[in-house]
C-alpha cells in the first residue's frame, strides 16, 4: 500500500517537473523569439540610422564643395570685371580652405599663384571629368603644405571669350571641422577616399583606427581582410557607377558593416566600417535586459520552488515527528497501562497481604479479648491473654507505621530532620535493640567500627537508625538460629574534608535470597516467600523504605546474596562533619593525659590508638593481662601513671577480672578501670567485679563513649552518696496533668493509665477548653499539659501558642507534651515549633511517656 502511495507521489512529482520544464521551454522559446525580433528590428533601424548619418556627412561635404564652387564662380565674376585680374590673385593671402589661387591666361602654358610663384596647370589631373557645380575637380594630391588637396578650375570669360582660367586649391583637412568628432562612440572608422586615385586623403578626427596606417583602398582591404575577389569586384563596379555600398563582413574578428558612401556623384567616397554590436547597442541592451528580467524571474521562481519544497519537507518532517510522537505516546500509554496493571496487581497482592497481615494480629486481639472476658476471674490467664493482646497490638502498630511511612516517602513528603549525633550513641541504641533479638535466636551478633575519623556527624539520626534497624532486624529475621550477623561501620577515604564518607555493612550467613527476588527487593509490597520464611511476617515495605531513605540522603544501597549462604547489604553515605568537632580541653579538664588499653586482639588496640590520636592523649597498649600489670607498675614507678585503664574481659591467660583486681591493687582508687567488651553487661554484672571495675564500654570503641563514661565515673566519684534511685524517678506518683483530648475513649484510657501510675488528670474536650482551664488554674497547679493535636474548636498547636502567649509566670515554662496520632517527624517538628516541649505518638508507650514527663518535671524542679 505504502509502495503504491510512494509510486503515486513520485509520479506526481515527475509530472510536475515535466510541466515546469515545458512551461520554461515555451517561455524560453518565446523570449528567444522576441529577442530575435527585437534584434532584427533594431538592426534594421540601426542600418537606417547609419545610412542617415552617412547621408548627413555626405550632405555636409557636398554642401561644402558646392559652396566652394559657388564662391569660386563669384571670384571668377569679379576677375571678369577687372582689367588686371592677376593683381587681384596676387593680392589674395590664402585661407584655411582656399589655400592657393592661380590664374593662367588663355593660351599660356604657365600662370601665377597668389604667392607670386609660377603655376603649371599640367601638374593637375582633371582627366576623370568629375565636376562640382559645373566646375571640374582635379584628382587629389599632396600640396605644398603636406596636405591632401584638390583644385577646382573655372574659366574667366570676358565678352563671351575666355581670357584666363582660375585654379583654386582646397585641402581636405578643411572638411574636418565640419564633420562630427565621434562616430558611433569612436567604434566606427571613417576615411575619405579619392575615388580616382583610390588614396585615403583624410581620416577625420576621432573616426579612424589610430593604429592603422591605411594608405589607399587596397591597403584598407588588406588591413581589414576584405580579400574576396567577387566582393572587391562588386565594390569596384559600384564605385565606378558612383553608387553607395554597404555590406556585412568580419573585421578583426567582429561582425561589421562596411560602407562606402559616394560624395559628389562618386568623386569622393566615405569609407569605413562599424562593428554590428556597436550599432545594435540599444538592441543588445534591450535583449540583455530581457534576459536579466527572465533570469531574475527564473531565479525568483526557483527560490519560490525551493521554499515550497523546503516548507513541504518541513511539513512532512513535522508529520513524521508527530507520527513518531504519537507512537511514543501510544507506547508510553501502553507501558503506563502495563505499569498500572502491575501496580493494580501489586496493590491487589498488597491488599491481600495486608488483609492477611492485619487480620492475623487482629484475630489474636479479638480472640484473646473474648477469652479475656470469659476467663476474667483467672488472673494467670488474664495476664497471659493481655500479654498476647499487647504483642499482637505492637505488631499491628508496626504494620500500620510502615504502611504510612512508605506512602509518605513515595508521595515525596518526607523531609530529613538534620541534627548532630554521635556514631557511638547510634550504634549503642541499635545494638540495644538488635542484640536481644539476636540473642533470643542464639545468633552471634558482632559489631565493628573501623577507620572513622569523626564520630560526631550531622544527619538525620532517626532515619539512619531506621535504616540500620531495618537491615539488622531483617538479618535477624532471615538468619537461622545460631547463625552469625556482622554489623560493620567502616570509614572510607574522604572525598571532601567537610564530609565523613562511611560504609555500613550488614552481613549474615542466613537463608539468602534468589536472584529473581534480588531484582525486586527494593520495590514496595514485595516479600520473600519460601517454605522457610513463610512464618516470618512483615509488610514487605521495609526495604523499599530503606532504599528511599538512603537515596534521600544522597547515598547508595546495594545487596549481594546467595541462597543458603547469606546476604550482604552495603550502604554508603556521606555525612557532614560539624564545624567544632573536637573539644580538646575535655581531656585536660578531666586530668587525662595517658591511658592504657589491655586487649589480646591487636586490631582493637590499634583501633583505639588510632581513634585517640587526635585527642592528644598518650595511648599505650598491652596484649595480655600480665603485660598490662607490668606497664601499670612501670608507669607508677616513673611517676607517669595512667589516668584511665581499659580492659578486655575475656583474654587468654589472665582474664580481665583478675587483671582488674591486680591493677586496682596498685593504682589509686580514683583511676577509672573500665571494661571494653562485646559481651552483655548483664553477664558481667553477675561476676563479682563491681569493687574493681568502674564501668563498662561496649565494643566497638568510641572516643565519645569513653568521654561520657569518664564524666559519669568522675561524677560517681564526686558524689557517690547522692546517687538517685532510678526506679523512684520513673514514678509519676502525685503528678497532676491537664489533658486536652476530644476522643472520650482515648481520654479514658489515658486517665486509667495515669491512675495506674499514681497520677491524676483533668480532661478537657478541645484546645479552647484547655486554654481556659489553664488560665483559671493556680500557678503550678498542673505538672504538665498533655495536648492532643487534632481537636474541634481549637487544635493543639493553636492552644499551645495561646498558652505560651499568656501573661502568667508559668505560661512559658509549663511542660506541654503532644500526645497525638500524627506520628511523623514533621509532626514532631510542628509540635516543637508551636511551643510544645515533647511529642509522644499514640498509642502511648507508658515507659517512654514516663521518661519524657520526668525529663521535664525534673527540669522544672
Amino acid at each position: 500500500m505504502k509502495i503504491k502511495q510512494k509510486k503515486q507521489k513520485t509520479g506526481k512529482g515527475m509530472s510536475l517537473i515535466v510541466s515546469i520544464v515545458l512551461i520554461f521551454c515555451i517561455l524560453g522559446a518565446f523570449v528567444f523569439y522576441v529577442a530575435g525580433r527585437i534584434s532584427k528590428e533594431m538592426s534594421a533601424a540601426a542600418i537606417d540610422n547609419l545610412s542617415e548619418s552617412l547621408d548627413l556627412i555626405r550632405g555636409t561635404m557636398e554642401a561644402i564643395l558646392e559652396k566652394e564652387a559657388e564662391y569660386q564662380k563669384l571670384i571668377t565674376k569679379e576677375l571678369e570685371l577687372m582689367d588686371a585680374p592677376e593683381k587681384l590673385v596676387q593680392f589674395y593671402d590664402g585661407s584655411e580652405t582656399m589655400v592657393k589661387l592661380s590664374l593662367v591666361p588663355e593660351g599660356a602654358s604657365q600662370g601665377i599663384t597668389n604667392k607670386g610663384e609660377a603655376f603649371d596647370p599640367e601638374e593637375l589631373d582633371f582627366s576623370a571629368g568629375r565636376m562640382v557645380e559645373d566646375l571640374p575637380i582635379s584628382e587629389s594630391y599632396i600640396n605644398y603644405m603636406g596636405a591632401w588637396a584638390y583644385t577646382l578650375k573655372s574659366p574667366v570669360v570676358l565678352k563671351n571669350q575666355q581670357t584666363a582660367t582660375l585654379y583654386i586649391e582646397y585641402i581636405y583637412e578643411s572638411f574636418d571641422k565640419a564633420l562630427p568628432n565621434r562616430f558611433y562612440n569612436s567604434s566606427a572608422s571613417l576615411y575619405i577616399l579619392d575615388a580616382e586615385s583610390e588614396r585615403l586623403v583624410l581620416k577625420p578626427k576621432g573616426m579612424g583606427e589610430r593604429e592603422a596606417g591605411h594608405v589607399n583602398l587596397e591597403d584598407f582591404y588588406r588591413a581589414n581582410q576584405i580579400l574576396e575577389a567577387d566582393v572587391k569586384e562588386e565594390i569596384t563596379k559600384n564605385v565606378k557607377a558612383g553608387k553607395n555600398v554597404m555590406f556585412y563582413h568580419d573585421i578583426q574578428g567582429k561582425r561589421s558593416l562596411v560602407y562606402m558612401w559616394a560624395v559628389n556623384d562618386g568623386s569622393i567616397y566615405l569609407i569605413g566600417y562599424v562593428p554590428v554590436e556597436s550599432i545594435q547597442r540599444e538592441g543588445s541592451a534591450v535583449n540583455q535586459n530581457i534576459f536579466i528580467v527572465v533570469l531574475v524571474m527564473l531565479i525568483a521562481f526557483c527560490i519560490c520552488c525551493a521554499l515550497y519544497f523546503f516548507t513541504q519537507r518541513q511539513r512532512i518532517r513535522a508529520a513524521i515527528e508527530r507520527e513518531k510522537e504519537r507512537e511514543l505516546h501510544n507506547r508510553q500509554l501502553a507501558e503506563a497501562l502495563q505499569a498500572a496493571q502491575v501496580a493494580s496487581k501489586s496493590k491487589t497482592m498488597f491488599l491481600s497481604n495486608m488483609s492477611h497481615d492485619i487480620r492475623t494480629p487482629m484475630n489474636a486481639i479479638v480472640g484473646f479479648a473474648v477469652l479475656l472476658a470469659k476467663d476474667a476471674d483467672y488472673p494467670e490467664k488474664v495476664r497471659e491473654y493481655t500479654r498476647k493482646i499487647t504483642a499482637s497490638s505492637q505488631h499491628l502498630l508496626s504494620l500500620i507505621n510502615d504502611v504510612l511511612d512508605v506512602s509518605k516517602i513515595e508521595s515525596g513528603k518526607v523531609a530529613l530532620t538534620i541534627g548532630e549525633f554521635t556514631l557511638s550513641n547510634m550504634v549503642s541504641s541499635v545494638d540495644a535493640i538488635i542484640r536481644p533479638a539476636a540473642k533470643a535466636k542464639r545468633q552471634n551478633f558482632e559489631v565493628t567500627v573501623t577507620g572513622i575519623k569523626n564520630e560526631r556527624l550531622v544527619g538525620d539520626e532517626t532515619r539512619i537508625n531506621q535504616i540500620l534497624i531495618n537491615l539488622l532486624s531483617n538479618a535477624v529475621k532471615y538468619t537461622q538460629e545460631e547463625g552469625n550477623i556482622w554489623f560493620r561501620i567502616i570509614g572510607l577515604e574522604q572525598r571532601s574534608s567537610q564530609y565523613e564518607h562511611i560504609r555500613i555493612e550488614v552481613e549474615d550467613d542466613g537463608y539468602g535470597m534468589t536472584p529473581e527476588y534480588l531484582e525486586t527487593i527494593f520495590d514496595a509490597f514485595t516479600r520473600a516467600e519460601n517454605s522457610t520464611t513463610n512464618k516470618v511476617q512483615g509488610t514487605g515495605l521495609g526495604m523499599a523504605i530503606t532504599k528511599n531513605i538512603v537515596e534521600l540522603m544522597g547515598g547508595t544501597i546495594t545487596v549481594v546474596s546467595e541462597i543458603d549462604k547469606g546476604s550482604l547489604f552495603t550502604v554508603e553515605l556521606e555525612l557532614r562533619i560539624p564545624e567544632e568537632q573536637v573539644d580538646r580541653n575535655f581531656w585536660k579538664e578531666q586530668g587525662v593525659s595517658r591511658i592504657l588499653v589491655v586487649d589480646d586482639e591487636e586490631d582493637i588496640c590499634r583501633n583505639v590508638q588510632s581513634l585517640m590520636e587526635d585527642t592528644g592523649v598518650r595511648t599505650d597498649t598491652a596484649l595480655s593481662g600480665e603485660e598490662g600489670i607490668r606497664q601499670v607498675c612501670r608507669a607508677g614507678d616513673q611517676d607517669e601513671p595512667y589516668h584511665v585503664i581499659l580492659l578486655d574481659w575475656k583474654m587468654p591467660g589472665m582474664d580481665g577480672i583478675e587483671t582488674a583486681r591486680r591493677i586496682r591493687a596498685v593504682v589509686e582508687t580514683h583511676v577509672p578501670i573500665l571494661f571494653l567488651t562485646a559481651y552483655d553487661w548483664e553477664e558481667l554484672e553477675k561476676e563479682d567485679v563491681q569493687a574493681e571495675i568502674d564501668g563498662f564500654l561496649a565494643k566497638p570503641f568510641f572516643v565519645s563513649a569513653l568521654k561520657e563514661k569518664i564524666l559519669e565515673v568522675h561524677a560517681v566519684f564526686d558524689d557517690r552518696d547522692q546517687a538517685v534511685d532510678n526506679l523512684e524517678t520513673d514514678s509519676l506518683e502525685g503528678c497532676h496533668f491537664l489533658v486536652a483530648e476530644d476522643n472520650e475513649i482515648n481520654a479514658e484510657i489515658l486517665m486509667q493509665l495515669l491512675e495506674m501510675e499514681g497520677a491524676d488528670c483533668e480532661v478537657t474536650g478541645d484546645g479552647q477548653a484547655a486554654l481556659e482551664r489553664f488560665q483559671n488554674a493556680a500557678v503550678g497547679e498542673f505538672d504538665a499539659i498533655l495536648m492532643d493535636v487534632q481537636m474541634p474548636v481549637m487544635n493543639g498547636y493553636e492552644a499551645t501558642r495561646a498558652i505560651r502567649g499568656l501573661k502568667r509566670e508559668d505560661a512559658a515554662n509549663v511542660p506541654i507534651i503532644a500526645m497525638t496520632a500524627n506520628a511523623f517527624a514533621e509532626d514532631v517538628k510542628d509540635a516543637v515549633d508551636a511551643g510544645m516541649n515533647a511529642h509522644i505518638a499514640k498509642p502511648v508507650d507508658m515507659g517512654l511517656f514516663k521518661k519524657t514527663v520526668h525529663q521535664y518535671i525534673k527540669r522544672k524542679e
Binding site: 599632396i142 600640396n143 605644398y144 603644405m145 603636406g146 596636405a147 583637412e173 568628432n181 565621434r182 588614396r199 581620416k203 578626427k205 576621432g206 579612424g208 583606427e209 589610430r210 593604429e211 592603422a212 596606417g213 591605411h214 594608405v215 589607399n216 591597403d219 588588406r222 588591413a223 581589414n224 581582410q225 578583426q252
Partner: protein, 435 residues
Amino acid sequence: MKRGVCRLGAVLMAGFMAAAAGACGQEKFLEGNLAEEQENRIRSVLLFAPMEKSDPDNENVSRTAFDLTVGMAEEQLGVTVEYRTYTAENYQEKTYDEVALDRARNNMDDFYLLNPDTIQALGEEGKLADLSGLDCAKNLRDVVKTANTVDGKLVAIPQEVVVNGLFVNQDMFDKYHLELPNTPEEFLECCRVFKENGIETPVGANRWWLENFVLAQAYADLYNGDTTEEEIAALNSGEAKYSDYMRPGFEFLKEMIDKGYVDAEKAYVSEAIEGEGPDFLAQKTPIVMAYWGAANADTAYGKPDFQMKVIGFPSKRGQMPVVPLTGYGVSAKAEHMEDTMNVLDVILSDEALKVYTETNKVISPSKNVQVDCIDALKPLNDRVNENVYVLGSNASMKVEQWGNTCNIVRELLNGATVEECLAEFDRLQEESLKE
C-alpha cells in the same frame, strides 16, 4: 491578522511604486550640462607621425608600445591624441620627411615624429619649440641631448634611442663557414663568398638606410676618439672636409654596387623593409639593414624562421652601430601648445618610457630606464653598452648628416660617381659656411 498583512503589503507596494516613479522622474539638471561635457571630452592634440602599413596577421609592437603611452596621457590629461599620417606609395611621390617638413612649416599639426634631418632642418628654421623645460627632459641621456639640441634649444625627444645595425642570417653565414664581418674588407669577402655560392644579392637594401655604411666608416674615429669636439669644430669652420670623412664609405658602397652585392636599381625605388624584407625572411638575402625595433616587431623581422643576429656596420674600428636619433618635436606655433607639452611630458616620463621600453625591448632615452634585450640584439647592445657607436645625426654639425647623406647615396644608386657624390658634400659644406 490577514487583513493587517494585506495592508502592510499594499503600503510596501505603494512605497516601492512611489520610489520607482521618483527615480524615473529624476531627469533633472543636477548632473550638469551634458552638452558642455561633450565639448570638454573631445579636447585633442594633433600628431603627425609615420604609420607602417597595417598587417592583419602581425602585431606592430612599436605602435602598441607607443599607443600604451598615449593611452596613459589621454587618461591622465583627458586629452585625445589624434593622428595624421602619410606614406608614399612609390619613390616618385613625396617622402614622409618632405611632407613632414611641409606640414611643420605650415603649422598643420601640434607635434611631429621627426627623423634626424628634419629635426635639424626645422630646428634651424625655428619651427620647433624648446622642450628643455619639460620634466621628462631632465632624465635624458647625454647622447640624446647632444643629437637633438639646435641653437641651444632641445627641439626633439625620442621614446627610444634608435640604433641601426646589420641584420644577418646566422644560419647562412654558418652554412658557408663565414665569420660575422668586422671590417669593410671582411664584409666584402663575405659578400664575395655568398655571391659565388649563388646568392644573387647578398645585401638587401632600400632607398633609406644605405647611408649607415657610409656614416659608420666616416665617423668611427670621430665619435670613438678623444677629439670629437675639435673635429666637429674643424668641419664647421671648413678646416676639415666632410668629403674626406665620407670617401671610404662611398667607395665601399660603389664597390658593393659594382660587384653586384647590392641591387642599386631596386634599392633606389624600394621603401624601407618593403623592398628587401621579403627576400631576407625568405633566406634569399643573408644581410639587410634596419633599426633596433625591427628585431622586435612582427611586422618587420620579429619572427624569422632562422637564427638572426644584429651586428654593427663594418668599420676600421670593428662593428659599428649607427644611432640616428629621431624624436617628437612640437610645432612652435602649435594650436594646442599647453596640452601638447603636457602629453609629451607624460609619454616621455620615466613611467611611460619604462612601459614603452619593456614592450618594445629597445634602448630608452632615459638614464633611469634599463631593459634586457632579446638574444638577437645582444651583439649590437654590447657595442652600445661599450659606448662604441656613431651618431647618424648631430645638430652641432652645420651640415645635416642623416638626410643629406641619404640623398647623396641615392644619387650613387642612381649612377653618380663617388667623386660627384663627394663634390655634393663639398657644396653643402660651402653653403653652410656662407650662413
